[in-house]
């Protein structure tokens, strides 16, 4: 019995110590991580609209060029000069969430740019979903009637993109995320104009 007690006490102390350590480091770094995420988001929106900035003035440039609109708790980033609209997307990939920024032209149908900010797919395979070279395939593609990420080799329609060879599940998951999030943001955006 005494043995078991010692065991339990040890595990408890270990658990408490490590949890305490983790919570502590989390508290320390949480703000900086938040700031980094916000900076990444702003950089993605500005890059899609081809606005130049540097590390020092990114926030003021963002405030100048981008109008932030909130409709039904959804946030849109409108580039006043060109009419492009951006929004953040998030959804489930194969191994973990995939999130990023989509920028559409003022018709809210044609893709200007997609940037994937966070993903946990297999590096070099599903992970290609985050690479600029692959995401360049989405430029000029239409989100209506729905985005199709296909494996077949037929000539691509204006709403079709090729899937990643060897990463079928990630490509499927990404297609679902894109379409679901688009429908949600589209509904809110349309209601704004009514």
């Amino acid at each position: 019995m005494k043995q078991n007690l010692k065991l339990i006490v040890f595990v408890l102390i270990l658990g408490l110590l490590t949890s305490g350590l983790l919570v502590g480091v989390d508290a320390l770094t949480r703000d900086r991580i938040e700031q980094n995420k916000i900076a990444q988001l702003k950089a993605a929106v500005l890059d899609a609209n081809r606005v130049s900035y540097n590390f020092g003035n990114i926030h003021s440039v963002f405030d100048d060029e981008i109008e932030t609109i909130v409709i039904d708790e959804l946030t849109f980033y409108l580039h006043t000069a060109s009419g492009n609209v951006s929004y953040t997307f998030i959804g489930g990939g194969v191994w973990g969430p995939i999130s990023g920024v989509v920028t559409l032209e003022d018709d809210f149908e044609t893709i200007v740019a997609i940037k994937v900010l966070k993903q946990e797919e297999t590096p070099g395979l599903g992970g290609i979903i985050a690479e600029a070279k692959y995401l360049a395939n989405f430029v000029g593609i239409k989100m209506v009637p729905s985005l199709q990420i296909n494996k077949d080799s037929s000539a691509n329609q204006p709403n079709e993109v090729d899937a990643i060879t060897g990463a079928t599940r990630t490509s499927e998951a990404f297609e679902i995320i894109m379409n679901d999030q688009y429908d949600m943001y589209r509904a809110a955006w349309d209601s704004r104009n009514e």
Binding site: L7, L14, V25, T29, I33, N36, W95, K118, E120, L125
Partner: protein, 207 residues
Amino acid sequence: MKWIRLRYTKWFNILKDGLHRNNPIVVAVLGICSSLAVTNRVENAIAMGLGVTFVVMASSAFISLIRNFIPSKVRMVTYMVIISAFVIIVQMFLEAYFPSIASALGAYVGLIITNCIVMGRAEAFAVKNPIRYTLVDGFASGMGYTLVLLVVSIVRELLASGTLLGYQIMPDTWPNWVVMSIAPGGFFVLGMLIWGIREWSKFYETN
């Protein structure tokens, strides 16, 4: 020179062990899960290899420090808790202060935590040896692991996309062996590699 060799013989043997005789992947067959996923490209293999080496050295060192206090029955849990806590803390620091590195290595973190090599070295070595030997052993195991990852990834990347570290090596007419970029390809290359190394070094599996 001879004096140094004598003094550090034990270090040297531990080093040789980790790289060759007890190479974690080829001989002890540890750390497979992750080595299959990350050997599709050379750059991933290098990143993962360095990451694992660092984690093995650091966590083994820590475990070696407290080795006299760990009750025997809960060793495995202790290792897992210490290793996960350590990896998560490192990840949090990277995300806060070096976000570009963090996003590049993001997917590996989960893989490193479950890498059996880290636990294997903790159990087989760190918990029985003082810290100075543990550090050398950690380095050796990590480097042995990285070496094998490199070899496998060079074969896979060449066959799957004709590139090495992103640079096109194969001529444009090379048809990409896509199977090499997915898991079965990793299995096949690893199996052939183990076969080759065992025939060459005559470390057979005795039945």
